[in-house]
Point group: C3
């Protein structure tokens, strides 16, 4: 596709996977892109983007016809789209799990996120949700971690939960980082990686199955320097999709320099 | 309009007002959206947006024909538009108060902001400006609070000023928070609410008449958790309009969880 | 062009230069704007924008035809465009200096940035690069300063390097500030100006030839208050172009108030 610098320049970080791929996933956090913005973004960034998340409950704020059109548009680019986990938790809290899954299918979603970031959900409920979504034909991504850091289980338990989710039928597990990337999960209040937490979690799971929410550039760089160009990263703002791809390829100081030392 | 989840999900925070409304106002800070961006934003966010502010003196930076077209476009969606208060203060400092009001009317503005964020303005001058704007046919929003925190009067005086403005003919009063939301008015240097200042001010005014500048998500959440879904909020960046509406409805952890405890 | 307030309001900071200009340059940091976004931005901000930088290695991420179209579009507005210096350093490190310059010309670039933000480059190599680029017909901007603050030479050496670059054929020299503007060059970890560093550098160079990377509003305001409306500023995000022009004209509290005291 892009041969401007073919034979002249090669990326400092080799091995970046092309689409379709099952690692090296980039997931966008979408807080309300219009149809036009979505199509425009995809027309250029399609090769660098795998998932669009209509974050928290924003899916409810589109007129139904616009939502259907947006989902169709995204899928036409070979990109997956799903509503944020909070929306699932809300449905569950209102006793509408099955109706929720069916409503997603009706408007065109193929994927659902199952999380317990706000609500406390038992292991049995979680399993039931994953299995029912699968049975209805939905692909499942789960998320581990609480939106209120004070309620966060330790990383051994989170890793155990992630492992179980994958056994029950989830295809990826997201590690919570919120939109801010600060004071949450494996990140400190400035957005820095808390190495001890990170290691406890990452040593206990298959990294290819984890999507790290990493909204901040420093987080993306640290994770790419640790796992390589094909680490799965999520909650990437729309303006950062191409910048992240540059990081993955070593086309930016933060990942180029370190890889060459 | 939106019945995708009708009968399946209801918002955790009930009572959100639909347009036209006089409380629950969302005011956008616009630093130079093009005609296309403005139309695009409104086509989706029209139900969630009440005011667009062409912030500080940016109104002066549009070619006249573009400005006229933009104002017309915004009004066609039932959204109000006005230039930032700094622009008024500048006109006043150059002895052009009346000419300024007339020029606004000429290009299509129906609203004006009267403030003293940068300039010191006497009570008599302030009253004169509000009354003259009204007489010329302009709706008036005033603002209380200084852009330089070191010059800020105490909250009793700000509340008194707000009350007087409303008596003189202002329809809403903005509480200054600037674009950053940090180290200004009721916010500390990290953007947190200073409870003592907030209480001193909010206990002395009708909350339905105050528009709180609250550019940061944490500020929006605190004010929604305090006043409910129909608090008036301003200086919302373009990318946050739908996210704020989700907060107002409890479709996000920050306002859902607290309201259910 | 814009006579809405002609004869009514004049900018508090007088003397702002119109295009074409050689001081008062505004350089945009572009992390992947689409053709449509680029055209849209330029249609309104053309008078306020002089350079677009396709930052770090993002130029490599456009399909060749799209890149050619984007460069042509930008130039049609009388705005200059060039790829980030990291891309040059990458080519140099792979022994492809000449081929790199030729490939830029092939897709339509007229300008190149020569930097050593990541790579260590000898004085002789730097001179050779500037002179060869010029000989091939490219205008040259250089950059001084390291992307890793720990490796930063002192400001005397940076000023000396800048002076030499200008003698060798560079038309402007950028002072490194990165995208963040924090903990880099003349900025502390909060983005504040380190006066001692700033003075050491700025006292030793012609200010009209320096483009200060200043992504944060506070930095822009400090530099405008110091040098006046026609200071050259770079790494300005797309959403801030008009806001910066308002600062240059004194149409915002941060530069109005100080200039009137």
């Amino acid at each position: 596709m892009n041969n401007t610098w073919e034979g002249i320049l090669s990326p400092p970080l080799p091995g970046r996977k092309q689409k379709p791929r099952t690692t090296g996933i980039t997931m966008l956090i979408d807080k309300g892109l219009t149809i036009r913005e979505t199509g425009d973004l995809l027309s250029l960034n399609d090769p660098y983007l795998d998932f669009i998340k209509l974050t928290f409950g924003t899916a409810a704020l589109y007129p139904k016809a616009v939502l259907i059109e947006k989902i169709k548009l995204v899928k036409s680019f070979g990109v997956f789209i799903y509503p944020g986990g909070t929306f699932f938790e809300l449905a569950l809290s209102q006793g509408k799990r099955t109706a929720y899954f069916q409503s997603l299918i009706e408007v065109g979603f193929d994927w659902v996120e199952i999380s317990d970031g706000t609500l406390d959900i038992s292991g049995a409920e979680r399993t039931l949700a994953i299995q029912e979504a699968n049975k209805l034909g939905l692909h499942v991504i789960t998320e581990v971690g609480k939106k209120d850091a004070a309620n966060q289980p330790n990383e051994d338990l989170l890793a155990e939960l992630a492992r179980r989710d994958l056994q029950e039928g989830a295809e990826w597990v997201i590690m919570e980082g919120r939109e801010s990337g600060k004071g949450i999960g494996i990140y400190d209040n400035q957005g820095g990686l808390v190495l001890d937490k990170f290691n406890r979690f990452s040593n206990r799971i298959e990294p290819e199955k984890i999507i790290w929410e990493a909204p901040l550039k420093g987080q993306q760089a640290v994770l790419i320097n640790h796992f390589g160009p094909n680490v799965n990263l999520g909650n990437i703002p729309p303006s950062e999709i191409m910048a992240l791809e540059a990081l993955r390829l070593g086309y930016r100081s933060d990942t180029w320099k370190k890889s060459n030392k």
